[in-house]
Every structure is written in C-alpha cells, then in structure tokens.
Symmetry: C2
Amino acid sequence: MTDSLGDWKRTHYSQELDEDMDGETVTLMGWVHEIRDLGGIIFVLLRDRNGITQITAPSKKITPELMEEIRKFKKESVIAVKGTIQGSPKAPGGVEVIPEEVKVLNESKQPLPLDPTEKVRAEIDTRLDSRYLDLRKHSISAIFKIKSTMLHSVRIFLEEKGFMEVNTPKLVGSATEGGTELFPITYFEREAFLGQSPQLYKQMMMATGLDKVFEIAPIFRAEEHDTLRHLNEVISIDAELAFADQEEAMELLEKLVHHAIKEVKENCQAELEDLGVELEVPELPFPRLEYDEVIDIVNSKGVQLQHGEDLSRAAEKALGEVMDGYYFITNWPSEIKPFYVQPHEDEPEKSYAFDLMYRDLEISSGATRVHQHDLLVKQIKSKGLNPDSFQRYLAAFEYGMPPHAGWGLGAERFTMCITGMKNIRETVLFPRDRRRLTP
Amino acid sequence: MTDSLGDWKRTHYSQELDEDMDGETVTLMGWVHEIRDLGGIIFVLLRDRNGITQITAPSKKITPELMEEIRKFKKESVIAVKGTIQGSPKAPGGVEVIPEEVKVLNESKQPLPLDPTEKVRAEIDTRLDSRYLDLRKHSISAIFKIKSTMLHSVRIFLEEKGFMEVNTPKLVGSATEGGTELFPITYFEREAFLGQSPQLYKQMMMATGLDKVFEIAPIFRAEEHDTLRHLNEVISIDAELAFADQEEAMELLEKLVHHAIKEVKENCQAELEDLGVELEVPELPFPRLEYDEVIDIVNSKGVQLQHGEDLSRAAEKALGEVMDGYYFITNWPSEIKPFYVQPHEDEPEKSYAFDLMYRDLEISSGATRVHQHDLLVKQIKSKGLNPDSFQRYLAAFEYGMPPHAGWGLGAERFTMCITGMKNIRETVLFPRDRRRLTP
C-alpha cells in the first residue's frame, strides 16, 4: 500500500538545505537512492532533482513504528519525509534530516532493469529502453539541462536581434527537395509527407515583410544511416533574414553559437562538472576556409577528395585533425548544394553556401538563397526536379521576394559539441532511428 | 532587370524615423505600397516590417535619370532607397525621404493575386493560397506577432517557475490513447504514427526526477472535423509537474494565462490596435464550475445535456452565454476522460480532470494523473484498450513514479482568445485541415 500526497507540499530541494537551517522543519520528496540499515540507526539517501539529502533515523530519537516504516523502504521508491534539519559535517551537503513523519508515495519493483546509482554505464540500448531510470543519474539529466539552456539562450539571442518566432507546418503536400528522404503519411484520402526542413516555408516568410524569422522544431528524415551522428527525427534551429547575404547570416550564426556557449558555461556549471566538461567559449570570428582549401588540407592528410565531391566521413575526420574548434567552409560547388542556393554571379559553378563545422562534425548549413524567380526555376530543373511541384513556393518569388539568406543549425549536434557526447542518441530523450521507435 | 543588394545595408526601419533626424542620410528597404506620379513629383510609399515611409521625388531636386527609375516602380516590388530625411507634417510619421539613389531588388508581377493594400478582406482560401501577400497587411502580421509574444512569455514564465523544456518524439511506434485520430506513417519497413499529444512522454518524464517539464511543439490529429476551431496540425503547450495535484496544475495554468495576456497587452500595443482589440487582463483566480453545475446551466438555457455526456457545441454555446471570461470546469465524469486521469478515491465515477474554457471555447485540458501502476492497467482495460501496447509507458510506473498532474494548452485557441479571431485558421501561418495541405 502506498500513501497519497494529501496536503503535503515539498518545502525544499536537497540543494537548498544548509547548516544555517539547523532545527528547521522541512518536507522533502524524492527517490530512495540508497538505504543502509545498521539496526539501531538507518541511513536513507533521498535523491531529488538537484541533489541528495541524508535522512538519519536513530532508534533512540524516533518511534519504533516510524523505524519500521523506514526499514521497509525500497531502493528507488518515491518517498516524502517531514523532519528536522541537523548540521552534520559528514553528510552530503553538511546536513542531515531527522524524520518525524514519512510517506511512501509509490513503491519500486525490485530488481530494477537499470540501476540509477550504478557507476559503470549500461549499454545505450538498455538505457534507452528504460530512459526514465537512466535520466535519474545526474550525469545524464545534465545533458538535457544543458540542451534546454542552449535552446533558451538561442531564442533570447534571436528575439533580441529582432527575429520573430514562427511555426511552419510539418505536414507537407508534396515531396520537395528531392523526395527519397521523406516519410510518407496517409492524410485522409491523400498521400502527404513529413517536413524534412522548414526551408521552403521560411523562404516564403521572406516575402511577407516580417524580414527576420526563426523556428525551433522537429524535422524528419527518412535516411537509412545508422551512425553516431544521424537520427530520423531531430530538432532544427532555423533562421532566415531578408535583405541580407551569406556574410550577415554567418555573422549571426557565429555570434549565436558564441552566445549560447557563454550562457551554458555561466548557467550550467554543476552540469558541466557532472559531465567532466571544461567548456571553452570560442573566439570570434570563426575561421573561414574555402572549399578549395579544404580539398588541399584533406588531400594533404592522405585522404582522396576530388573537386565537386561532398565531404566523405574520412575527409571530415582528416579535416578535424587540422581544425580544432568551430570554423566555416565557404564557396561550395553549386552542383552539391540544393537548388535554392545562390550561385556566384560571375562563376556559377561556385555558390554562396556555407557549412559550420566543429572539428569533424557539420553542425549547420546555410547560404544566400536564390531570390530571382527565373533563376530558381532554372536551378530546380537543373537538379532534375519538376517546377510544377513547387508552384505555391515559386509564386512567392513572383510578387516581391527580397534578397535573403539563412541557415539551419542542428540542436542535437550542437549539444554534442557542448557536452562532448560522441553519440547523438545521448542528446535526445527518446531517439528515433531505423531500429528504434520506442519508448 | 533587377539590382543586387551589393554592399547596401538597411540603416533604419520606417518606425525609427522622426523629425529630429532632418538632414540625415538613411537607407530604407521594403515594398512599394503605393505610387502616385504627378508628373513633376512622384510619391512612393515604402512599406517595411513596422511601418510606411513616404519617398518624395520632386523633379526639381533630383536627376531626370533617377526620376525615370522611380517612375518605373511597380506596386509590391522590392526596393531600396538611399536618401535624406526631411520633416514633413503631412507625411505618415512626420517625415519624408528625398531619394538620392534607388535599387529595384526584385520586381512584382502585375496584377497581384491578392492586394496587400486592400481594405476589404478577401476570402480566407484566397488569402491562404497567397499567404505571403496576405501577411504583408499589418492587421494580419499583427496576429503572428501576438502569437510569438504569447509563446515567448509562456516559456519565460515556465522557466522562471523551474520548468525544463523537453523535446519528445513526434514519431511514435504504437497507436496509443485509442487510435482513430492518428495519422499512419510508413517508417521504413514498419508502420508508425504521428504523435497526437506528448501525454505519455511527459508522464514518463515524471519518473526521471526532473519534476517539472514543458514542451511547445506540434501535435497531429486525424480528426475529420471541418470547423472553425479544429485543425489537423496545431501547436500544443504542454506542462507536467511531479508531486502535485490538479489544484496546483490549475493554479499554474491560470497564472500562466494571466501572465501571457499581461505581456501581450504591454508589448503588442500597436498590434492590438491594428486588430481593434481592447485586451483585458483577466482577474485571478479564474472561476471554477463543477461539471454538475455546468449541466444545470446548460439545461437552464434550454439545451439538452445528460450527466455523463461531453459538452456538445450547443452546450458550449449555451455556457458561453452565461460565462464571459476564462473559467475552469472541474470534476468531470471519469467515463468521458482518458485512462490516465485520476478518479476520485471515494467516488471513482468522478475524476480530477479539468478543462479551461474561454467563453464557449475549450482551450486546455488537464488533470491529476493516475500514478499507480495497477490502477492504470485497470483503467486502460476499462477503456477497451490493450495494456500490452503500453508496455514501455507502464514500465515507468513500476519503478518509482511520483504523483503528478499537468495540462495541455492549445496555442492557436489561446491566440484566438487574445486576438478575437473566430476562425482558428487566422492564427496559423499555413493551416492544415482535411482539404488543405498547401502551401
């Protein structure tokens, strides 16, 4: 039997307790992290969101009934404890709580599929199957506190620069930008697809006069990859700005990355410590490498890369050995970039596309976009696509589309850079890949 | 032929100009809102994100070449103007700009499918087909500035209350909570579904120790409705809190609604004016009606409603005639609420579910959740569902799930309340309904 919450309210989190509160009555709620029964005295470690408090139950101070109740506690059960604070230099945080009343709010079955107190990490698949237990480890929840701090700081940064948040549809009517990477949906009597990027929508927003928009939302890619860097559903941070070119877009992006890292460093000290990460705020501006230079670097490291090829994994790794922090790759060949990327006026085989890299990991792609209707139609055709399936998108370019530029930044890949995680699955609560659709 | 942006940068938006800047050189960029050619003088209204500036081109002050360039301007083309500010009491904003150099950054085809300067609104379908033009009207973009301000204030409010933002998957493996309202996806070799709510995920997060989480993300419902209040893709604001009950969840929700409205009123004065809305900040706490009282009110208005029935549209309307602002309906019958809603201990036909209403519109549903594994299994069965398909979700209740409560608030419906819009499509940039999948 478990107890109901009744009128009990948590008064403090573990981390809010200190010696100055000696003698105060508090109500704590959390999980049984450890229990040590020495007969005449029982020690219980109560774990909550921010820390751990030692509950000390000596038989000479509390009733035999309460002693029995505490003795029956099971690891990872949910408990509430009303008690008195007592300074205790040996206890974590320098205080312990002498219980006066306890509740078992929910019991935990034994044994657990995953031990939240374990020192050695279980296999990632075991952990993801029982993600709710995995996240009880502060070294795991730290990743998500950092991710949410990063997202918060990104939003505030963009809003302060005059960007308006938009919500564009994830259900799309036609297979744009190709089509092999799209998940098909049955939409009533019709076929529809899941948006692989808000690209075409944020571009249409440039023809509205709103000028600067951003969106942070899921994107879906039916890629068959099974790597440490790809998932089929991720969060994309997208920004698009009118009356601007790739230089302004890159400057916005590097300042945003710089700002977000500074904010995480300032606001997530405990979490970075939990992860053992020494976070460095990168210097501005980030280095800019031209695509041609990249080829030379990669080839000099003994990895084959021909002009006109996209970076292979081997090429990225070779580059990552030379380039340590964040850097841009600019002036990509038009042929390996999407149709909406603006080619150089005088040398159309080169484009105004850029990628933002962190060591060997691509974290963002952006470009000056094509804003001229006729050139856009030409580029769509040259990629082997049919302009008819872009009818509504193309119309927006006929009635006053300003020059514009933008980028998409992968929230999970950026979180990997900040937290030092090597597997993108570590940065997603419930990752989706080819094999995993649950929980 | 159009001009390229080159090294031009916008120096000001229209609304930043005033008489004190007389004599200053500025660069403006925007759309040709109106053009009036009186021969010896041409007036151009340049419209940008925030306002309109009059460009005045008198032949005695500027070169014949420049006069000719300006004369060729077409309505809704994108232009950039370098010129000098001159005080002009008759012009909008009290200033005009005498051009020195102009660029046509992109031309607009004529006639336009929708006139952004029109006074009378076109049909909603025509407007949505050319949403990029529709949004050029400040009275339309105002809705989205208000929506983004609301979302911003909601996030800040929740973060300040200690809620952590989470991202839960939209691709789900099994048809939970029923199944008739789900869109099926082809997920590689398998069938998957689009999430109709983050409900089960935010509940699983309650077993992690993170305690307070929120998510603002799209949800997808395959409802066949064709009403002014339903869409198949909307943004849901979801919050879930551990060690809390429905009272605490309702208090959080009403304070959030109150805060968001206050913030919109303070930060969107011009937009509210554009919409002709006199926004009132509602008083706290919101009235609480019990379901049984609602039945009496509805019946007293001559609308049939039996105990145990959900509110019909007629019932909502009858209720809306009596209840003017925001109010809660509490103590719903368990039989019309989902399996995860906690029944009263002593009277299990009643539940701890609540709805938040604004007049005749339901904008949020919430409840104390069932946190006891065995009761949850029983409730799943009693709704005719199979506990086996909830295996991973149910596991989270076996190893220490605390009592918890939460709610989901419809971002678009809340935007309707704030902006006075009667059709939910007005509050979505690119709405998705049974008939509409484009643009």
